[in-house]
Amino acid sequence: MTEFLTAAVGFILAMLALGLVSILRGPGDADRMMAAQLIGTAGIAVLLLLGTIAGVPAAIDVALTLALLATFASIAFVKKGLSRFEADGAGSTEDK
């Protein structure tokens, strides 16, 4: 079981590394934001698997923290990215 989960962690980590390649190439900011989002999600999955492998239940708490702060960071990314197109903040981007 442990071997299988470790292999799964390695696989998801490799996917994460490929996602980084997409940051490297990403022509626009939107692609960079997406890759950052993918890295956050994959990081949470890796953390959960790692915690189960090592028998560290507190790893779930780290994943919980990461889930909240990754959301916060992603929103900040998007807001700053938007402010390039708008004068300031996301003022009128929230169209109805």
Binding site: I12, D29, L38, T41, L48, T71
Partner: protein
């Protein structure tokens, strides 16, 4: 009983890993921003969801299981909101996506 639980873990985590693969390949190969966003949400929602589903039998306690599920729900909420905002950026910003 433990065999059945391990089987479930193996099946669900493998499926989750597959969706991560699909999401990453889509991120790398799809032609424009909106299609890449479509690929990303698969990894976000299904990949993480299936990994969480696979780890539920190994959680050991009710509290651990509830925390796992709440992580997935948080991931869903974040993914949905962030992809909406990214899609808007892509539509308003740059030239044709």
């Amino acid at each position: 009983m433990s065999l059945a639980r391990d089987m479930m873990t193996i099946v669900a985590v493998s499926a989750g890993a597959f969706f991560f693969l699909a999401g990453t390949v889509g991120l790398l190969r799809f032609p424009n921003t909106l299609t890449r966003l479509h690929a990303l949400t698969k990894a976000d929602n299904l990949g993480l969801g299936l990994v969480v589903l696979g780890l539920l039998p190994q959680a050991g306690s009710l509290r651990g299981g509830l925390k796992l599920i709440s992580i997935w729900l948080l991931g869903l909420l974040a993914g949905a909101t962030v992809s909406q905002l990214i899609a808007r950026t892509a539509r308003q910003g740059g030239p044709a996506p």
